[in-house]
Amino acid sequence: MSLMTAIEVGASGLTAQRRRLEVLVGNLVNAGTTQPAGAEPYRRKDVVFTAASPEATFGAALEDAVQGVEISGLVTDRGDPVKKHEPNHPHADKDGYVYYPNVNPMEEMVNVLSATRSYEANLQAVNMAKEMQQKTLEILR
């Protein structure tokens, strides 16, 4: 049933956005973590999305057109850590600097919002497909 493909595709979007949200929240919670001097501080991470064909079979004309989404990779932001002069901090180096992660909480919040909206949009698509299937069943009534 072709509307099943729509639900499957929507579900792939839901999964992908949820994983993205997990990674973004990971960035947020680590925004203030520090490492002992010499160790690499936390670096912000992000996901890379790629279009992927759903598993179900469907019409030949639409074979390439209907695509779900999957996470093809987790990338680490190579941006420089934020250097702060805090000589009394237990993780300060010999010059008194502490290296904080390259996470900007504002930026992460915006990304979290974007992921939430995309999640909602996919949810809407799944609900509409369900509704259409329900309508099909109502023909029989």
Binding site: I7, Q17, A51, A121, Q124, A125, M132
Partner: protein, 136 residues
Amino acid sequence: MKLDFISNQTLDAMESYLSRLSQRQQIVASNLANIDTPGYKTRDVSFHATMQELLAARSSGLHTTRPEHHPGLIQPIPGAAAFEVQGLSSRADLNNVDLDREMLKLSETSFAYSLITQLVRGKFRTIASSINEGRV
């Protein structure tokens, strides 16, 4: 006079419209799933067949008794092929999925779908009515 209720052109047309709408639903779901995929381009299926296509696809029109009569153009829409939608502005990652456009298409598709299913039900009710000699 031949009364062919069950296989009937209107039903065929409605069936093909429903299947086209479900294809559109899949495409919109695909666009929404890939709203954050770099390089993804918005896709859609066509609903507007040209007059030429309709005339070419016509197998059995309405019965005509005079040459001036029009055979009618109620028939299945010819085969669908998805295409990339032109004229949408791309973001920096070359993705051009517009959330508002997709949400609009989603409601449009769902509305048209429930409209056609109502019509199909009506068609079947008509048949049921004739079977029951007019008693509903």
